[in-house]
Symmetry: C2
């Protein structure tokens, strides 16, 4: 990291679930900030937020907000990014966008530093941060792909409500209390706030995250499929996903089946690849009941991998259980990590 | 059903989570009972249980309890079944056993009536009721297998705590209240009561159900794999499972990927097969956000299937979401259904 230069930074969506984690992460990483602007919707403007002991007033994000900004971290929804990222770029800022607005654009790098950091070199002012459930999966699969190749991936997710924002977390807690007290639970937010029907998430499992596409897959599932291929530069990779929302506050889990190009690697070989890879903590000892758990992963930056075992039918098939904090590696930490890589590669001033 | 004959029935494990559902189901089905014996461990003996408005005293199950019993429904744990099923058979009873004690014995039929009712004809005094998570999967897959053949199944489960008994349900509720009140949660029951380590289930996902085997799979996962092959008479079927416990009281969900022998069937064709099959309710309309949910399935006997969609890479690959009440079709209802089939096929007095 450049030890001298400090940067003018803006955080867009500073009051949201991810925005708050971004500020915490910038603080923890001692990110080289010269000036900090906290931006939000009109509704949240005026709020006070403390960063490194200093109080900041949240301002409404407008095209003019980006004057003098070198780095803008966006996490305020796709429509905000679509409207304001181009404005920020006009003002010379480099944007790291945590929404799906630009992820699949051919000229926008979609980056998980452990996998494709060098794609940052092609940025045109905006770098997309992948979907939370995609990030933890590609971090876990990359060391295996590098050594053994990768042919097929089938993932079923176990996703936390904080991925749908603070309102969803509040809804879950309210419903849970109501049910424990024998009262009726009402649903207004999940599975998708803007959709017609809402279902109870407390003590339930909802197989819908984001809206349905014409092919019967949800947008969340298609994000995992398409983003994985793009990040890994493998349009030919077979990927399938089923995404499910669960009554967990924070922390996504994934049951992943994958087939490698090369056959016959042992579980020990796979475990060795994982334990040496960046950003991964291997937690895999069935005899000691050691495996990744949401309750251990929350608040940490790593991706936790365990329950690695061979498929009983195919010589190139394996199963694994992958857990990570969806607000950190799945969002805030990956965004800040991208920013750190931009500085390291001297790409923030180009 | 035989309209005249009534039977002397015993329920072993009458005070447990499944035993209570068995009694409710026998009542609802107006099962032809001449006499009813409620049996349990010494600890629960003496309790009073009401059945069809009549009060019964629960008795300790001993070898002598089965004198005069024609049908014995067992759901009191594997060790009880191992000890007492042979005694019940000596007394002439036909036993339907809801534990894993005899499931894989070559001379014991393992039966899901919608799939292999005719296997009942080979019984030698005991019929095994499969594992809850197996039952709902084979019910959903059977109509597809019949028409299109079946090559490969990969399932990830989303299982409720009631499958681990009433103590597990109580533990989850206690932990949930504690966490909502900002207190510490303690764990003593889940994932497996007799294991060394226990983990919080509230707001968590535990990728361990039952104990680990030497191959890295849990016993629950191996049950799904081996039982599916046995019930479907397909030792060559490729089956893989990852079983996960979740903070849901009752109702198991399953994300199932399957490959058929015959390629190219449309989603509509698969849906038609499912909607005509016995024991299945098809709930599959993404445009209307209609898909199976635990909260709708609990208290019902059917297996609910939805989110049927084609794999995007393989012409014979499909994905589906399957939900059922683990205490009913997964246990009590399937056992009573087996008993009804035994009467229908005149196999209770053989």
């Amino acid at each position: 990291m450049n030890e001298q230069q400090h940067f003018d930074v803006a955080v867009v969506g500073a009051t949201g679930a991810v925005g708050q984690q971004m500020l915490k992460t910038l603080e923890q990483r001692d990110f080289p900030i010269k000036s900090l602007k906290l931006l939000s919707s009109k509704r949240s403007a005026g709020k006070q937020i403390t960063f490194k002991g200093q109080s900041y007033t949240v301002e409404e994000a407008t095209p003019e907000s980006f004057q003098g900004v070198q780095l803008a971290l966006f996490s305020a929804g796709g429509s905000v990014s679509k409207a304001l990222v181009p404005e920020a770029i006009k003002h010379g800022a480099v944007c790291v966008d945590n929404t799906s607005a630009f992820r699949m654009d051919a000229d926008v790098p979609l980056v998980v530093p452990e996998v494709n950091e060098s794609d940052l070199r092609n940025h045109q002012g905006v770098i997309a941060n992948p979907n939370c459930s995609t990030i933890q999966m590609v971090v876990a699969l990359e060391p295996i792909r590098k050594k053994l190749g990768l042919k097929k991936v089938i993932v079923s997710t176990y996703q936390a409500v904080s991925g749908a924002g603070l309102e969803a977390v509040e809804e879950m807690e309210k419903q849970t209390r109501a049910i424990l007290d024998g009262k009726e639970a009402t649903a207004e937010v999940l599975p998708v706030a803007k959709e017609k029907r809402h279902y109870q998430i407390a003590f339930n499992a909802i197989p819908q995250i984001d809206v349905f596409q014409d092919n019967g897959y949800t947008f969340e599932e298609m994000k995992m499929i398409n983003e994985t291929k793009k990040i890994m530069h493998m349009p030919e990779l077979e990927v399938a996903a089923t995404c499910v929302r669960l009554p967990i506050e924070t922390g996504h889990s994934e049951s992943i089946y994958f087939e490698t190009e090369q056959s016959g690697a042992s579980v020990k070989e796979i475990q060795a690849l994982l334990s040496e890879a960046p950003g991964i903590t291997l937690q895999d000892n069935p005899a000691k009941q050691l495996y990744p758990l949401v309750t251990n992963a929350v608040g940490k930056n790593d991706v936790f991998v365990g329950r690695v075992r061979r498929d009983l039918d195919r010589d190139n098939g394996y199963h694994a259980w992958v857990v990570s904090d969806n607000l950190l590696k799945g969002a805030a930490w990956n965004s800040v990590q991208i920013a750190e890589s931009l500085i390291k590669l001297n790409l923030l001033n180009k």
